[in-house]
C-alpha cells in the first residue's frame, strides 16, 4: 500500500515538477509566469486533440502540446516583457483566454460527442533490472516516459542554472538587470527565452494530465494545478532542488487525496482530501521563513533615456 501510494506520488508530482522547474527559470530571470495555469490548460487540450486526431499518436499529441504551450507563452512574454504590462493582470487575462479557446475549439472540432472521448495515455514502462529493485524499483522505475524525462531534466536544469554562463546571465538579470545590460546582456531577450522554455515545459506538464494519465480532456482538468506548480517554485526558494522537494510533498498530498477518496467515506469528508493540496499550499506559504526572492521579480526592465 505504501509502495502504491509513493508510486502515485511520483506520478502526480511529474506535471507539477515540469511547471515548477520552468517557473524557477523564469522567476530567476525576473518574470513571474502567471499564465502558467492557462499554458497547462492549452497543453492538456492540444495534447489531447493531437493524439485523438492522429488516432492515438502520443508523440504528435506531445508536440502539439509543446507548440500550444510555446504560442501561449510567447503571447504572455510579448505583452509582459516587450510591452512591459503588469504580469499578474496579463496572466489572468491569458488564463481566461486559454479557457475560452480550449472550450470553444473543443466544440468546433468534436461537436457535442455522444460518448466521452478518450485516448490511451502514455503507459508505464518498467525499466529492466532497475524496476526489480525492492521498494525503489516500482516507485521510481515503473513510470511513464514523461517522468523519466525529468530524471534527466532536473540535474540538467540545476547544472545549467548554476554552472553555465547562460545560467549566470539568467540569475544576474533577475537580480540586477541594469548591471546585466551594461555588461552586454540582452535582458529582454533572455527573459523571453525563459518564458518560451516555460511554454515548452508547462505544455508538457499540462499534457501529462490529458495524455499521460487520464486519457481524456475537460476544461476543468488542470483545476489550479498550474498555480500549485507556481507555488512550489516559491516554496522551494527559487531553486531547482527546492522545486523537486516541494513537488514530492504536493505529489504525496494528491496521492493521499486519491487514495482516501477511493477508500470511501471515513471520518473525514472527501472534500477535505480534494482540498488538501490547496490547504497545504496556504499552510506552507504562511509557514515559510527563508526568502531568496529574486530582487527584480515582477518588475519590467525599462531602459533609462
Amino acid at each position: 500500500m505504501i509502495i502504491s501510494l509513493l508510486t502515485r506520488t511520483i506520478t502526480m508530482g511529474t506535471p507539477l515538477l515540469y511547471g515548477s522547474l520552468s517557473e524557477v527559470y523564469s522567476e530567476r530571470s525576473g518574470v513571474m509566469n502567471t499564465a502558467i495555469e492557462g499554458i497547462f490548460l492549452m497543453g492538456a487540450w492540444a495534447g489531447f486533440v493531437g493524439t485523438y486526431l492522429t488516432e492515438g499518436n502520443l508523440l504528435i499529441g506531445l508536440l502539439a502540446a509543446v507548440l500550444a504551450g510555446i504560442l501561449t507563452a510567447a503571447l504572455y512574454g510579448w505583452i509582459t516583457i516587450y510591452l512591459k504590462q503588469h504580469q499578474i493582470v496579463t496572466g489572468t487575462a491569458i488564463n481566461i483566454l486559454a479557457l475560452g479557446i480550449c472550450a470553444f475549439f473543443q466544440r468546433v472540432i468534436f461537436g457535442i460527442p455522444l460518448s466521452p472521448l478518450i485516448v490511451r495515455p502514455f503507459q508505464p514502462i518498467a525499466i529492466p533490472l532497475l524496476s526489480k529493485i525492492p521498494v525503489i524499483g516500482p516507485i521510481l522505475f515503473n513510470q511513464n516516459i514523461l517522468t523519466y524525462l525529468l530524471f534527466i531534466l532536473v540535474p540538467a536544469a540545476t547544472f545549467v542554472l548554476y554552472k553555465t554562463s547562460l545560467g549566470l546571465s539568467i540569475r544576474s538579470i533577475g537580480e540586477n538587470p541594469e548591471a546585466g545590460d551594461v555588461a552586454g546582456l540582452k535582458v529582454e531577450q533572455i527573459r523571453f527565452l525563459t518564458i518560451l522554455f516555460a511554454g515548452i515545459m508547462c505544455g508538457i506538464g499540462g499534457a501529462f494530465y490529458s495524455i499521460g494519465y487520464l486519457g481524456l480532456f475537460t476544461t476543468t482538468i488542470i483545476g489550479g494545478r498550474g498555480w500549485i506548480a507556481f507555488a512550489i517554485c516559491f516554496l522551494g526558494n527559487w531553486k531547482p532542488l527546492g522545486a523537486l522537494s516541494g513537488t514530492l510533498i504536493f505529489g504525496l498530498a494528491e496521492a493521499l487525496a486519491i487514495f482516501m477518496q477511493s477508500r470511501g467515506s471515513g471520518v473525514f469528508p472527501n472534500e477535505l482530501f480534494i482540498a488538501l493540496p490547496y490547504i497545504l499550499t496556504i499552510v506552507l506559504t504562511v509557514g515559510r521563513r527563508s526568502f531568496n526572492v529574486p530582487a527584480k521579480l515582477g518588475v519590467p526592465y525599462k531602459k533609462e533615456g
Partner: protein
Amino acid sequence: MSSKFRDLLVTNILAVVAGLVVSGLLLLFLGKNPLEAMGTLFGSLFRDGYTVADIFVKATPLMFTALAFGFTFKANLFNIGAQGQFYLGAVTAVGFSLLMEGRLPGGLALVLIAALTILAGGLWGGLIGWLKARFNANEFLVSMMSTYVALNMMNYALRTFLMETKAEYPQTNPLDTSVWLPIFIPRTRLHIGFILAVLACVGIWVLLYKTPFGFRVRAVGNNKDAAEMAGISSKQIYIAAFFISGALAALGGFSEVNGVQHMLVQNFNPGVGSAGIGIAILANGDPIGIIFASILFGALQVGGNIMGQLSGIPSSIIDLMLGFVMVFVILSYYVREVWEDRREKARLKKAVNL
C-alpha cells in the same frame, strides 16, 4: 475632458471592438456568419423589456466581484479569490435564509442575512489579509488557493446539511418567497440587488477618494514604504482592504442566491470571479467605471446566451470574447503609455523652444 481620460475611453472602446471582431471571426470555424451572429447578439438584447432588464441582472454579481478585485488593487494587493468569497457568501446567504424564512419577517430577515454574509465574506477575506500582515504570506497565492477550499466547503455543505429534502441532487431546497430580494421592475427579473451593487460601487468610490481611510489605502498602494514613513500602518490596511474585498464578493453571492436563483446549486456562476477581474482591469480599478464595464459584460453574457439558443453557437464563445477583450484591453494600456509618453515629449520640446 482631459486628454488622459479621452485616451482611456477611445482605447477601451477600440479594445472591446477588437475583442469582439476577433472572437466573431472565429465563428467562421463553426460555419456561422459572424456578422449575422453579432447582429443576433446585439439585436436580441433589445427585443423586449425582460431581456434588457436581464443585462442588469447579469451585471449585478459582476459589479461585486469586480469591486472586490478593484478595491484591493488600489492598495497594490491582489485578491484573486473573489470566486471563492462569492461561493462562501452564497452558502452563508442560503443557509441563513433557510434558517430564518417563516420565522422572521422578510425584510428583517434579508437585512440580517446581508449582514451575516458581509461578516462571513469579510472574515474570510480578512484572514487572507491577516496572513499577509502577520506572516508576510503571498496574498496572491493564498487568495487563489482559498477559492478551491471554499468550493469544496460549498460542495460538502450541499452534500450534507444544506442538501434538499428529496436528497436527489447536490442542491438546497428552494427559498421561501419572503426572503427573495424584491423585484423593482415588474415582469422582469431585475431585483434590488442591482441597486445594492450600484450603491456599493458609489460607496467604494467615496470611501477611496473622499475619506482619510481611502487615502491611506491608496497611499499604501502607491508606495508602501513612503506610506509607512508617514505613519500609515500598511498591515492594518492589508487586513481592512481584504475584509472589505471579501465582504463585497460575498454580497455578490447573497444577491445571486436571494435575488436570482432562490436556491443554491452546485457550480453555479463559475466564471464570475475571473470576469470580475477582467472588468476591474477594463475599468482601470475605478469603482464608477466598474458599473459601466459590468453592464457591458452583462450585455455580452445575455446576448451570448441568446445567440447560443438561436443559432447553436456554444456558450463558450462568451469566455472567448471575454479573453480577447481582456488581452486587447491590456494592449490598450500599452498604447496609452506610448501616447502619454509622446505628449510628454512634445510638451518638453515646446518648453525648450520657448
